[in-house]
């Protein structure tokens, strides 16, 4: 905290990427990765709010056991559209498309990504896919679950499956092109001196994410195309009546959709790896292991898909293999959690808002990850499969983990993107509200799931009502935690204090250029001569020499 107070107030730069050009065409036809990132920011926020409205309706409906608000058919549409909007149109693009796009070139010292026009195309594909999904929602919605299991989705459902599936198909190519862009950029566009092992962990995380994007997404594209063709042309790939196999759909679907969850969490882990060193004033512990763990998660993540299908009739030997591999994939995630903790050990810790989100991430991701092991264990999974235990598990990871990471990123890099600081008091308050609301919403779901309440049910036995009421109460608090940032961040654009080049301060290259950055990112191409997170050897940060007390001889701290 002291470093920011002692430096003289800085000015907003004269010319930067936001005022470099005016008019709607300069935004809709931009190839500047920073502007494209903001285009994505607006679009994903829209889908986040839409998904949130569906969630609100679900929670409202579930206040009473008989389900008074929505009919069963409409309820099915609510949870389906909630899942589709949140997973495909918010979570999967979120951190990569907003913060990856904005910061990867800045972090490696480049002027832009390798393929700026393809970057813009990615956004348009996302928008077209999103429009199709919206069309599906507005023509009566979707009732198949976001998992589109056949033959319900391909034969029997009376809902707008075809436009939704087409929209997700097109959106998939947005993801593929983003991943392709990132991979090539990291390989070919690094500034002189920016070697692989000097890259910020955020870049490694996106490299690993991009591998999953390019290998996994095409498979779900084919799968949805086959299911769509089955629906439209009455073919029989997955329909038993026509000689097809519904379990084949499940294998093909989960082959992408499991790695997809790593697309959602790896970027958030990359964000945490940036925030914790900055607010501990200490290098990331175990840099190479962290990079290796990101890659290990990406690769092993492709080997566990059938843990979603333990009760679908697979052989005991297959189940055994997938259960074992599921245990394996938890290991690199655990290693990362230990390394973040070790990063903080004997660091100079400050609790600004990004760090509050990072702490939230650590606790909630831990719970979510551990409960994944319960689900990966064959015996227990029979009991808790398709219950609220699963719902709680993945919300702990996706909301408690990925969304916390997204919010942390938003608060960490807001000064760089906008040139302004937000109200720290309000922001910290909102982060705490979010944490409390989140736990109240989702912890009861572990309990009710374990007690037997199935997921995707529109009514339930009266003994589960107390859990549901607590959960809905939590959801209201959670909603406040999401609305507040929208308000104070927008307010800060006009009225917030000028942030300056490096307000935290942090060691990354992105903090060496102005806030907001100029269109070409750097006045002069930087030449990198320092290691990542090297707080000790960066006098330019204006930090006092970090005081790490020597271990006392007596052995007590």
């Amino acid at each position: 905290m002291s470093a920011t107070e002692s430096r003289p107030a800085e000015q907003m730069p004269e010319k930067h990427y936001l005022n470099a050009d005016y008019g709607i065409r300069s935004w809709l036809l931009t190839t500047d990765h920073k502007r494209i990132a903001l285009l994505y920011l607006v679009s994903v926020t829209f889908f986040f709010l839409l998904g949130g409205i569906f969630a609100g309706l679900i929670r409202l409906h579930l206040l009473t056991p008989k389900g008074a608000l929505l009919s069963p058919e409409v309820y099915n549409r609510m949870f389906t559209m909630h899942g589709v909007a949140m997973i495909f149109f918010f979570l999967i693009p979120s951190i990569p498309a907003v913060f990856g796009n904005f910061f990867i070139p800045l972090m490696i010292g480049a002027k832009d990504l390798a393929f700026p026009k393809i970057n813009l195309l990615s956004w348009y594909l996302y928008m077209i896919g999103g429009a199709l999904a919206l069309y599906s929602f507005m023509s009566g919605g979707l009732d198949t679950g976001w998992t589109f299991y056949t033959p319900l989705s391909s034969v029997y459902s009376n809902s707008a499956v075809a436009p939704a599936v087409l929209g997700i198909f097109i959106n998939g190519f947005s993801s593929i092109l983003t991943g392709l862009n990132f991979l090539v950029t990291v390989h070919t566009m690094r500034a002189p001196g920016m070697t692989w092992f000097r890259l910020p962990m955020f870049v490694w995380a996106h490299y690993a994410t991009s591998i999953i994007m390019i290998l996994g997404t095409p498979v779900v594209a084919t799968t949805l195309a086959l299911a769509g063709m089955e629906r439209l042309f009455h073919l029989g790939f997955f329909n038993p009546q026509l000689g097809g196999d519904p379990v084949l759909f499940q294998h093909l679907f989960w082959f992408y959709s499991h790695p997809a969850v790593y697309i959602m969490i790896l970027p958030a882990m990359g964000v945490i790896s940036e925030i914790i060193p900055t607010f501990s004033r200490k290098p990331l512990f175990g840099y190479k292991v962290m990079a290796g763990a990101s890659l290990a998660i990406a690769i092993v993540g492709f080997l566990v898909w059938a843990h979603h299908m333990f009760v679908a009739g697979q052989s005991a030997y297959a189940a055994l293999a997938f259960s074992f591999l599921t245990m394996l994939v938890a290991v690199p995630s655990a290693v990362k959690t230990f390394n973040w903790t070790a990063t903080m050990y004997r660091g100079s810790i400050s609790f600004q808002t990004p760090m509050v989100y990072a702490f939230g991430f650590l606790g909630l991701f831990l719970v979510g990850g551990l409960t994944g092991l319960f689900l990966g264990t064959l015996g227990t999974d029979i009991h808790i499969h398709d219950t609220y235990f699963v719902v709680a598990h993945f919300h702990y990871i996706m909301v408690g983990g990925a969304v916390m990471g997204y919010m942390g990123a938003l608060h960490y890099w807001w000064p760089k993107m906008s040139g302004r600081m937000y109200s720290e008091t309000l922001a910290r308050f909102a982060a705490v509200i979010l944490f409390v609301g989140f736990n109240l919403t989702f912890f009861p779901q572990f309990l009710m799931g374990y007690a037997g309440m199935p997921r995707r049910y529109h009514s339930y036995p009266p003994e589960f009502q107390i859990y549901n009421v607590l959960s809905t109460a939590g959801a209201t608090i959670l909603a406040i935690g999401y609305i507040l940032p929208i308000l104070y961040l927008l307010w800060s654009l006009k009225f917030g204090p000028v942030a300056g080049r490096n307000p935290w301060p942090s060691t990354g290259l992105e903090w060496q250029t102005a806030s907001p950055p100029p269109t070409e990112n750097f006045e002069v191409t930087p030449v990198v001569t320092w290691e990542a997170y090297d707080f000790e050897n960066r006098p330019d940060l204006g930090l006092d020499k970090p005081v790490i007390p020597a271990a006392p001889a007596s052995g007590h701290d």
Binding site: T31, A110, K111, D112, L113, A114, F115, P116, K117, I176, L180, N181, L183, V184, T185, H187, T188, M189, I214, L215, G216, T217, P218, V219, A221, T222, T223, L226, M229, F233, H234, L235, G236, F237, Q241, L242, G243, G244, D245, L248, L252, T525
Partner: protein
């Protein structure tokens, strides 16, 4: 991003630009492998599960036309490689000539494919309400072994049209790319110093060729009785 000569503004050197283009095209081709891979997997699983019905399906495919098409595509890969070579040595007229030859051969392939599709339509082998296999074509043993014989045969044709259709779609895109290249080449854009687009489209074209190399044996040649 503006362009001075052939160098785009966000790249530092032409070498960096070429390396990026090349890596980008290879990664894109990897995604195409995964894309076709999904449907190839569906085919393989179903072929294994329904060998008799799928054997009947394979035997209805025209082996001669399939073989001619294979030769046509291989030749087109040769002319494409020649176009890339011509690009490397900067022989502009030859670049245009070989690109046109590649386009022509691709057109022949698509034409023959059209003939095959028309024949399937005539014989009521297109999946859907008009699909029909005459009873005399189904041996008694086969019908007894597989109560869903007709459904599985239709599944073969769904996969046949899906796989070859997807492949043909990629060829049409390739033809579009070739037309664009021919127009650029006639303006003299490609030299020994700068011929990256020719090389990149070459990579794409060879990939589409390789997909056919797999499609032909998998669909036409397995369990052939004649």
């Amino acid at each position: 991003m503006h362009r001075t000569g052939e160098l785009y503004g966000h790249f530092e050197t032409l070498d960096q630009q070429k390396e990026s283009a090349s890596l980008g095209m290879w990664i894109f081709l990897i995604t195409e492998v995964m894309f076709f891979g999904g449907i190839f997997l569906a085919y393989t699983v179903n072929r294994h599960a329904n060998p008799v019905a799928f054997a009947l399906g394979s035997n209805t495919l025209d082996l001669r036309l399939g073989a001619i098409n294979t030769g046509v595509l291989l030749a087109s890969s040769f002319t494409m490689a020649m176009a890339v070579w011509a690009g490397h040595v900067g022989k502009q007229k030859l670049i245009t000539l070989f690109l046109i030859l590649t386009l022509l051969l691709g057109g022949i392939f698509l034409g023959i494919k059209g003939v095959e599709y028309a024949a399937k339509f005539e014989h009521h082998l297109v999946p859907g309400s008009s699909f029909h296999i005459p009873a005399e074509d189904v041996s008694a043993a086969a019908a007894k072994a597989d109560p869903y014989f007709a459904a599985h045969a239709q599944l073969f044709f769904s996969l046949y049209f899906g796989m070859t259709g997807l492949h043909a779609l990629h060829m049409v895109v390739g033809a579009g790319l070739l037309i664009w290249l021919i127009l650029q080449s006639r303006k003299g854009r490609f030299t020994a110093k700068y011929n990256t687009p020719v090389e990149m489209v070459g990579l794409y074209w060879h990939f589409v060729d390789i997909v056919w190399i797999y499609l032909f044996p998998l669909l036409y040649l397995i369990d052939r009785h004649k």
